[in-house]
Subunit: 227 residues, 2 copies
């Protein structure tokens, strides 16, 4: 059963609706997934992506989701929400000092050593796809990304998750790698591809995704985007 | 006085020497700076950047520095080392729950919402500077980076640091922004430029930088790079 509860002390901010290309990739998926894994109740608060409200812009420097409230505390950046939730549950962040250190290291690796190149890959293959620079840039970028995937491929050939158990590092890395889901780049790294599929198959992931998409379906596009 | 001590329980890994373009930008600067701010003793362990040793490659998936040891614990990714050191000292990470949450949010923002574009900016303006795609990409990339800098500029016009006090978020953000130091892009954001200068002027920053550079000068290039 979904952990969404209207009166939960934790609030996760997402969007009411996003255009089709962004469906399934909005980053409040990350803390939603973490809450589902750990059985932590949360409520959602949804912003209009076409007309971002003050309660989002006042907290998040770049107007991005998610932001998260926990009682009086407010956080932004999905990585910060994962670290915050991790402190609440051993199902997300092990208490063993070395396992904890490894999980936080891999989480930072996902956000700073892998995702930066995913951002530009999405630019090159989608947003700027028709531009000359994007066509010229793609080969060297994919070569670089393959070097970032190689150590993951080696590691995930021998184990299910980045550490001994599933942690917030896997929530980070699986959601980062989903950006190249369906690409030849990921298909060329079969253990990594299987890892992403393993993450997406978890019931907690599926509940989080389902709740995120349900909001989009329920709300539909804002009037300014309608026909 | 520098916090480097040969027998310190904390070990920070850096490089023996790097080529001139990388001087001052190697990322073990971040945990060194944090140790200097908090008065935490550390020892350095230096790897040959042209022939990376097993003790680095076995720990760090991409063979990057820094890695950090603290007794039996080993971490990688400079962000993870900052979070780990932050737990040791209020001079790095406030104990007030909201100030702590804000510092971790800004730290993640530096690593995931700002630095990704600095990586590509360095590619475009340095490593790939002669390539056609790099010339074509530069204007749109700089336009995007300016949007990332705008909220920083607004915030830092009114306060010295990202939070109420200096924290690991500032170590992260200042070192991220140094990548565009000296550029018109940074000069166009005067409050942010002054913030970077304020960070670099701190005695702890200067000791960390001085110790990093001293190793390069002491060791010089490896034989394979010599004349």
């Amino acid at each position: 059963m979904s952990m969404m509860r209207p009166d939960a002390p934790i609030e996760i901010a997402g969007y009411q609706w996003v255009p089709p290309f962004a469906r399934g990739f909005v980053r409040d998926l990350r803390p939603r997934w973490a809450c589902e894994e750990a059985g932590i109740p949360y409520r959602e608060r949804l912003a209009d992506v076409t007309d971002k409200p003050g309660w989002l812009l006042d907290v998040q420097p770049w107007g991005q989701v998610p932001i998260m409230r926990d009682g009086d505390i407010v956080l932004f950046e999905s990585g910060a929400t994962l670290l915050h939730l991790g402190e609440k549950s051993e199902a997300l962040l092990p208490r063993d000092p070395q396992q904890r250190a490894a999980a936080i290291s891999w989480l930072m690796g996902a956000f700073n050593s892998v995702e930066p190149w995913m951002f530009e890959w999405t630019n090159v293959t989608a947003f700027a796809r028709g531009e000359e620079w994007a066509k010229l840039r793609r080969p060297s970028l994919e070569e670089f990304i393959a070097k970032r995937l190689a150590p993951l491929e080696k590691r995930l050939g021998g184990q299910d998750w980045l550490g001994d158990t599933f942690t917030i590092a896997d929530i980070a890395m699986v959601t980062v790698l989903r950006a190249i889901g369906g690409s030849q780049l990921l298909a060329d790294h079969r253990a990594t591809q299987a890892y992403v599929a393993r993450g997406e198959a978890r019931p907690a992931f599926q509940r989080a995704m389902s709740d995120q998409l349900a909001a989009f379906d329920r709300n539909g596009p804002p009037a300014s985007q309608g026909e």
